[in-house]
Symmetry: C2
Subunit: 291 residues, 2 copies
């Protein structure tokens, strides 16, 4: 992979508005593997240096998504123990990246499986945005009487992608504006969302609007679960920045003196979260059941 | 006004998605006045009967908007004491309708004036949807350092109309998706919304999304006021139906098995409302300050 191609893939990750954090992290690891395979380095030390730079750039692509940072960090650490032979090192680095992606897929599936067991039969789930892990929860429950309430999730309405998938699986769903979440929370048995990042204080960063769903669920005494891989836990004390995207996504004409804001994520505090469902358990045994 | 023209005006009121409840009530009274002026009745008793039917149809045009029902009811009662001379009766009925509309305009302005005094200088107001009374609050505060946070208010984004007006008045504003309300409530000093209907238990019916704003304001300890004319108070014990509009307004393709919901209004409970600001006072002395 030459520098130009790498930049294109990197920009693809930065611009991607439809993939969730887990999918983006796995795409990032695929790019990392391709970097390893095609790097022009003649010595392992050169390869390590080049790949460490790639990892750093990939990790920084989406600052609100801890999993990308965490998995890139883990991959970067594995570069320290590459074999001396540069060809072997190349193969090893690529393999490690793909293994990490596979572990992530497996962890995500396990989190979804534990969540689906928690939900049980004949339940109505309200969610927000499009999470590949929550999609897997619906897939696992599709012959078990599950129903869905799906907010559109402005500005780009990835809720529509979820509604389309649920329709293909014959899962009855109600599609609503984000503004109707307060009206519909009471119709759900359980609220389940994915996460871009989990924070050590028990809060969760997810697509803007998740906080409002959590408030509405709380008011209606509907349990609210965050379902994702445990490696979305943010390693630092200072929480990550909440990414802001182009105001043009709101599709408005510009008015003088009016700023259009498009912050993509919000933080749902721990006291509004019934529990995290990760591959380690549901609710997460490390955090305990906050219900 | 012949029956066909009346039906057209009535349908105009039913279909109108951009005017607030007060504006629609005043439009309804204008239609009523025109009915009085142009009715073919030869005797006052015929005129009264015809106008009472018009009033009934107009009152039912927008079931979630108490003011339309209340003002039409008041007008209908006034028909009981029309003069015996049919031409005098015609003039009187039209005059009464236009007077009621004018009283409504005045009450709305007074509510806005009391609210603007309550807000004071150099404050940031967060609102939801487009209320002509809240617009008047901004107008009164435009040289007093007011700033605005304006959610788009899906599906038809009447927040954009408000942003445009604020821009024309040089009021600095931030335009956001409804999903960002949880992020922006903390940036406001005060939340002010209009209402389609006030209920006797202290709650308020307004455009869907208002409830979520109230929850977010409550969480951030931002005072939340409902500003409107007192004649929006619903007279019956049973609350009105929440109007549902065409799913097509969400602009999605239809998916088999997915129902698209477009409920236009939600109910904000009294415990999330700091106070009502009506022409009778701010907060409403009849209800008391619930702060």
């Amino acid at each position: 992979m030459n520098d130009k191609k790498f930049q294109r893939r990197l920009e693809g990750l930065i611009e991607d508005r439809h993939s969730g954090a887990s999918e983006l992290a796995r795409l990032g690891l695929e790019v990392a593997a391709q970097c390893a395979q095609s790097a022009g380095a003649q010595k392992t030390i050169e390869l390590r240096h080049y790949l460490a730079e790639c990892a750093k750039a990939l990790a920084a692509a989406r600052p609100s998504m801890s999993i990308l940072k965490n998995l890139m960090e883990e991959w970067k650490e594995s570069l320290e123990v590459l074999p001396d032979d540069v060809e072997e090192a190349r193969v090893k680095a690529a393999e490690t990246a793909l293994n990490l992606a596979e572990q992530s897929t497996r962890a995500s599936f396990e989190a979804a499986a534990l969540t689906s067991a928690l939900v049980g039969n004949n339940k109505t789930i309200i969610t927000h945005s499009f999470s590949s892990t929550v999609l897997e929860v619906f897939h696992l429950l599709k012959n078990r009487g599950v129903q869905a309430i799906v907010p559109e999730s402005r500005p780009l309405c990835e809720g529509a992608d979820l509604a389309e998938r649920l329709s293909q699986w014959d899962i009855p769903a109600t599609y609503i504006t984000d503004a109707q979440v307060g009206l519909f929370a009471a119709h759900a048995d359980i609220a389940i969302v994915g996460a871009d990042t989990l924070l050590a204080d028990g809060s969760a960063i997810n697509k803007a609007g998740t906080l409002l769903l959590a408030m509405a669920a709380h008011a209606e005494e509907v349990p609210f679960y965050v379902c994702c891989e445990s490696c979305k836990l943010w390693p630092q004390k200072e929480p990550p920045a909440l990414e802001e995207m182009s105001p043009a996504e709101l599709g408005t004409s510009p008015w003088p003196g009016v700023s259009v804001s498009n912050i993509y994520f919000d933080v749902t505090p721990a006291h509004l979260i019934t529990g995290w469902c990760t591959e380690r358990g549901a609710p997460d045994p490390e955090i305990g059941d906050r219900e």
